[in-house]
């Protein structure tokens, strides 16, 4: 079969970084092509070069065997190349439908926009993803996961011949991923050529038939068939050695005092009768489908939105937390946000400035003096441990790869020394090697007495880390179970507790 698209000898340099050092990729029609590699390997950069966001420093792109040059993203779209980027590219104030058809709306300046038709068309693509959102909703009101789905709907609406998906499943749960995969298979059978980036190798093995692995900006393997390639082989190519075993072991914290407790809590965001308790040194997982209200619960605990009923206890004493400042500095509660781009990081500041924010006050001397050296000593161990890849600590956070940004957003809280850490989707976009380190770090932290409330949509992660799992659905707690570390039985039990309440999306 002749390739529909080829990239040959692609090089791309950024100030201080050679992101791609001559990468080759060739895509066949009717296939799903995995693009793998560690954080910072160059996957997103390659995708941006292919879709006209970046101009390559050297190398050629071939479409149907003809040399092609994309000066901007519009050129690529016009040639039938669609993309879902790793970072969200939606206009928060615009409606879902407007976002989906942004390119199409813009093509005729003078005709008025027919909103009824726009919403109807948008409905079609949302339905394809079984996404129950009113197309007229402003995107800013959606959760991160739903934004990701809208972004996918937008790419689908272009009906392109080549579709590149950069970590589309990073913040999706299994059921949403399954729906996406149905669509991917249908597109593939219709002859579309898809590229799929993911750090979840189970997904890759399930859906992909060809694979390219990047390592440090070069091919570790070039567009080969997935046939006969094992997970072990993929890991070997990505990180150059075998994967470490996740060491889950039972931890008993039943004798420890309660650090955070909720009894019958309701909130202005719509939670009803939520009860939950986290002991010292305990890791409690909070599982639920997208829209279950877990992030919202975390923010209510932190004082960003009001608790309207019930009792919140810290160290057994009822408290009323009015601001995040109080939560952190009075009660020792920290929160790793699921949304690194707007809530987790200050993108225009340096890596060092970001990593230290929560401990500035603690490090400040008399008169509140603070030196970079002090901050560096406090955060460097965590940046090292998570292998943050950056040319220097002075690099602007926005210039790091997505996974490396995520690592900083987590590391800053690991270094903060809070007593209870709420961790919301900590491993979105983090590669498998670092993910193992992160899990190790979380458990180490708990062994040393920090309590952790872990929110994750990644069930294997939940089962690898948590001591106990609380299941939420529709802004209520629907069940609780101990974690035994056995994936099959625990995942079934978790799913049962969600579906007890009836099918909810």
């Amino acid at each position: 079969m002749t390739p529909i698209f080829e990239a040959k000898g692609i090089q791309k340099a950024f100030p201080g970084v050679m992101a791609l050092k001559g990468v080759t990729l060739s895509l066949l029609p009717g296939s799903v092509h995995a693009l793998l590699g560690e954080n910072g390997a160059g996957k997103s950069t390659l995708i941006k070069v292919i879709t006209g966001v970046h101009q390559p420093t050297a190398g050629t792109l071939l479409l149907d065997g003809q040399q092609a040059q994309f000066h901007n993203p519009r050129d690529a779209i016009a040639k039938g190349i669609g993309v879902v980027h790793q970072e969200r590219n939606l206009f928060p104030r615009f409606s879902v439908a407007e976002n989906i058809f942004l390119e199409q709306i813009g093509s005729s300046y003078l005709t008025p926009v027919d909103y009824a038709r726009l919403n109807r068309e948008a409905r079609r693509w949302l339905d394809a993803l079984e996404l129950d959102i009113d197309p007229a909703t402003p995107v800013s009101e959606l959760s991160v996961a739903r934004m990701q789905l809208v972004e996918i709907a937008k790419a689908l609406s272009l009906q392109s011949r080549v579709l590149l998906l950069d970590e589309p499943t990073a913040s999706l749960t299994t059921s949403e991923t399954d729906r996406l995969f149905q669509i991917v298979r249908r597109l593939r059978d219709d002859g579309t050529s898809l590229v799929f980036v993911s750090h979840k190798l189970e997904e890759v093995q399930e859906i992909c038939d060809r694979v390219t692995v990047l390592r440090d900006g070069a091919n570790a393997c070039d567009s080969r068939s997935m046939e006969g390639v094992t997970r072990h082989d993929l890991v070997q190519m990505m990180i150059g050695r075998a994967e470490g075993e996740g060491a889950w072991r039972a931890r008993d914290t039943s004798a420890q005092p309660e650090v955070l407790g909720l009894s019958g809590v309701s909130t202005e965001l719509g939670h009803r009768d939520v009860s939950l308790s986290v002991r010292k040194g305990e890791i409690v997982g909070l599982y639920g489908l997208v829209g279950a209200g877990r992030t919202e619960l975390a923010k209510s605990i932190l004082g960003q939105s009001a608790v309207t009923g019930g009792e919140v206890r810290v160290d057994g004493k009822p408290v009323r937390i009015r601001s995040v400042f109080e939560a952190i500095h009075t009660h020792g509660l920290g929160y790793v946000s699921e949304d690194r781009k707007t809530e987790g990081l200050i993108l225009q500041h340096s890596v060092l400035a970001n990593a230290g924010v929560p401990i500035w006050r603690k490090l400040g001397g008399a008169l509140g003096t603070l030196t970079d050296g002090k901050i560096r000593d406090a955060v460097l161990p965590y940046l090292r441990k998570l292998e943050v890849k950056t040319p220097s600590l002075a690099q602007t956070a926005a210039n790091l790869s997505g996974g490396n940004q995520q690592k900083i957003s987590v590391a800053k809280w690991l270094a903060a020394g809070v007593r209870l850490l709420i961790v919301d989707e900590p491993s979105v976009g983090i590669d498998i090697k670092t993910k193992a380190y992160l899990h190790e770090l979380l458990r180490e932290l708990a062994d040393n007495g920090t309590s952790i409330l872990l929110i994750t949509s990644d069930l294997p992660e939940m089962i690898a880390v948590a001591d106990r799992i609380v299941v939420m659905d529709g802004y209520r707690v629907t069940g609780e179970l101990p974690n035994t570390g056995e994936y099959d039985s625990v995942s079934r039990a978790v799913m049962d507790r969600i579906h007890d309440m009836g099918e909810v999306g």
Binding site: G16, G344, L345, I346, V357, G368, L380
Partner: protein, 346 residues
């Protein structure tokens, strides 16, 4: 500089700050600040040849005194730009603070050091009003300070009946006239001390860093435990106090606290207030400042104004020149950045 391979996992102990300092040193020559120094030097040479007496002790003294005020005005604006906002009321606030100081001396008989402190505190109080309103209403400070500019100025004119306080103790005029080492105005020294303190605030203190974080990304700052609202208010208070210092310097120069010393509604201050920070590379979106840049930018503007006036170019043309300056500076900055990018690619 093998920057691209500097992962921390490599285990080697060469500190990641190593390349950083090396980089910042070589980058200084390509920085905004260095560009400004270069421009200042070039124009100094041009004016030195083209005019008579540009380097005379008297002109240097006058230049220092004027730039002391302009720099202070720029710093006042800069401290609000940090939050991603603007302070159109700099002039009105400054004049109000100076009038309060004059009133305390003349009408209340309060000793001048206390009166100065009182005036500055009043400037900070006006800043608090601005900041509090901005935080409470959630409106952009552009609108709020446009309104308070008129309110502050109007109330001040009403209360003072537009009359100046002229019976000030001689220390004011003496300070305004004094010369250190023959031609340096002590006002300039005051300004430089304030600038150094500000630079230290933003680099070396928790408070300053929190201001920058709150300005760069309010949502992220709030979730990291920074009281963003309080930081915005503090930035406006700082701006008010700095505007007060600038106005008191004018008082020292004029020997009186005059309601019209910053023009109608204090608008004469707006151009220097913006030129300093913008030329100096302070980001208008907030979250990033350059104190040194603001100082150099404001100095350059003062020097250009003075030099052009000495060339007997009409004040009209001076304004046009300043506008042109702004454009050239922006273009230079762009060229500098793309050069920097290219050099690093190689």
């Amino acid at each position: 500089m093998t920057l691209q391979d500097a992962t921390y996992s490599s285990g080697t102990d060469d500190s990641p700050l190593g390349p950083r300092t090396g980089l910042s040193r070589s980058r200084f020559f390509l920085s905004n600040e260095f560009g400004l120094i270069l421009l200042i030097a070039i124009f100094a040479i041009i004016f030195g040849f083209a005019t008579k007496g540009f380097f005379s002790p008297f002109n240097l003294f006058a230049l220092g005194r004027n730039s002391a005020v302009n720099i202070m005005i720029g710093l006042s604006m800069m401290s609000v730009i940090v939050t991603g906002g603007l302070n159109l009321a700099v002039g009105a606030m400054g004049v109000c603070a100076a009038m309060v100081c004059g009133w305390m001396i003349e009408s209340l008989g309060i000793p001048w050091p206390l009166a100065i402190a009182g005036g500055l505190a009043f400037g900070a109080l006006l800043g608090w009003i601005n900041g509090w309103t901005v935080v409470r209403t959630g409106l952009h400070s552009f609108i709020i300070t446009l309104a308070t500019m008129s309110i502050f100025f109007g109330v001040m004119i009403f209360l003072t009946k537009a009359e100046a306080f002229r019976e000030l103790p001689p220390v004011f005029t003496e300070f305004g006239r004094a010369r250190v080492l023959g031609y340096v105005s002590p006002l300039l020294l005051v300004t430089l001390v304030v600038a150094v303190l500000l630079a230290w605030l933003y680099r070396g203190t928790v408070l300053g860093r929190e201001m920058l974080a709150a300005g760069a990304s309010p949502a992220a700052a709030e979730l990291s435990g920074i009281r963003v609202g309080r930081m915005v208010i503090l930035c406006h208070m700082l701006s008010g106090a700095l505007a007060g210092i600038a106005a008191l310097m004018l008082v020292a120069r004029n020997g009186a606290a005059i309601p019209s010393m910053a023009g109608q509604l204090g608008q004469d201050w707006l151009l220097p207030a913006f030129l300093g920070p913008v030329l100096g590379g302070t980001l208008l979106q907030g979250g990033k400042v350059s104190v040194l840049g603001t100082v150099l930018g404001a100095f350059l503007v003062t020097m250009l104004t003075s030099g052009l006036l000495m060339l007997q170019i009409g004040a009209f043309w001076v304004q046009s020149f300043l506008g042109l300056m702004l454009l050239v500076a922006v273009l230079l900055d762009k060229a500098r950045r793309s050069y920097l990018a290219r050099r690093n690619l190689a």
